[in-house]
Amino acid sequence: MKRLIMKHSDNLSLGAVIIILFAVFSVMQPNMMTAFNIKNILVQVSLTAIAAAGMTFAYTAGVFDMSIGSILALVSVVLAKVATTSGVFPAVVAAFVIAVIAGVVNGLIVTKLKIQAFAATLVTMILIRGIAVLMANGADIPLYSMESIKFLSSGTIAGIPFPIILTVFVYVCSYIIYYKTAFGMKLRSVGSNAEASKISGIKTDRMIIAAFTMTAVTAVLSSLIKTAQVMFGKATIGEDFALDVMTTVILGGTLVTGGKGNLTGTLTASILIAVIKNGLNINNVNSYYQQLVIGMILIFALIVNGIKAMKNERQIRREGEF
């Protein structure tokens, strides 16, 4: 039992922080504990959590994607435009097509042009946003009252809002893919040691392209919900989305160096950040304090991780001496 707790200590400590914060905020503003608010928090969680699941896969493979904010914007614009002219189904299909193309392009730039993930996705970030802005041409594209799209954000199945169900679905799939499939294993191996993986026959290029595609697809899912919430196609959304998602993944304990993704941690971290934002909003606190809090928590968590890593190293070295 003790070993179980030690193994999951990171996630448990995050969980503890969530509960403490929630308690503190609820004392300051009792309405925090209402079902309505908790439902809102969970829906807000789903917006980043879904994209963060994809990003966890990317980190596992040793890459990351800064362009998801721009993908968010492009999909929002395309969704609005296609939905108002051709209907909901073609719009959603178009959105996924964009996701796959974006992911493949990112992957190709990284693998074929041999450009690092940071640089490659920086470029696609700018280019994709440029395309989104061009398509929107200065206007917000309204979706008026398309009920079918509304369902994506406020529809319920058996009383549970659709976004929450989608999040659960995405995470269940992610767990299965990560832990139970050969694909997941290959991804992890590529992330921890790309050279060795290549020698042992794994097609590393394809794995990386797959990782980028997963990130893009989950980003599109997030975009669908966001656009459905506001019923607008807007080319300027998501400027900070990529950084927010990456913060979530890192806070959740996934290693940036690759090889070890922590899906539970990602989910817990998304909940933590959503609770912070919600709690501060309800207590009428300026949104810039929210950023400070999140930034400091990130740094603090990383320092703690760093100390732990150093202790581990020292212990391994000591054990190795005997």
Partner: protein, 322 residues
Amino acid sequence: MKKINIGKHAVVLILIIFWIVMYAMSSSFRLGDNLKSILREASMTGIAALGMTFIIIMGDFDLSIGSMVALLGIVMAGFMNSAGLIPSLVIVCAIGVVCGFINGVIIAYFNVPAFITTLGTYYSFRAMAYILNDANTIICTNPVFLKIGSGSIGVIPVPFIIFIVLGVIGCIVLNRTVYGRNVRALGNSEKACKISGINTKKVKMLAFMLMGLCTAVSTMVITARQACASTDVATNFHFDAITVVVLGGTKLTGGEGSIFNTIIAAILYATISNCLNLYHVDAKWQRICMGLILLMAFSFGFIQQLIVKMRENSQKKITQNA
């Protein structure tokens, strides 16, 4: 060895060609004021790019410089009204070094990757600026100070003089000192450095503190130009600085780089931006343009490899036919 390595200094060639073409084609470009404006703009990003060159050669990134500018600007402007010009400039340099110190400590001593640390400080520094000043803007009226940004000595803008002076110092440090050698060695292989006894932690710390100092000087110039300090300044600053360094041919993988190239690249970047304005290119297309330029810059390595391969192939054919 008088053979010029064109590949390494390709950016100089590009700048010269670009200038000659623009000179011939646009009478507005030739205007003295326009050229002055280009040099001035180049210095704004260029000064920070000098520090960033060291960091990228070392194999790291610094995403927090934009937020540093916000924080330092507010601090400096705040002190200027009470403490006077020189003390406030000294203070801002000191605090810049402190910010760099914070980054450096977390990265070097707590072993947190630079990308993540500076992500955390990206949020935190700007948030601190907000807390200090509450989203208000501080106006600077000291005429001597304003000259730093908008003044010129003779025909050369003051910021550019500062830029060149710092650039020369940077060049000397990088190429002629033991420290510069250590930075390059660290970028090549951290393990090799440790084995040969170099104190990698100190090298990293110093690099980030230098970056903080460069950012402080950049802040002086930017704030002087704008005659005000505000919390939402320089939101894309890190992007511009990194672009300039990469445009100069410094590889993101680290190990090699040239301050001279960074200076030229800063001028090139400002020139391109200026030309896009001269031709009244739509803002939407400007973004895409910059993205494509960035893509090209990042692909330098790939293009070089292609050329080498082509040469090899043609040589093989020659020896086969012989």
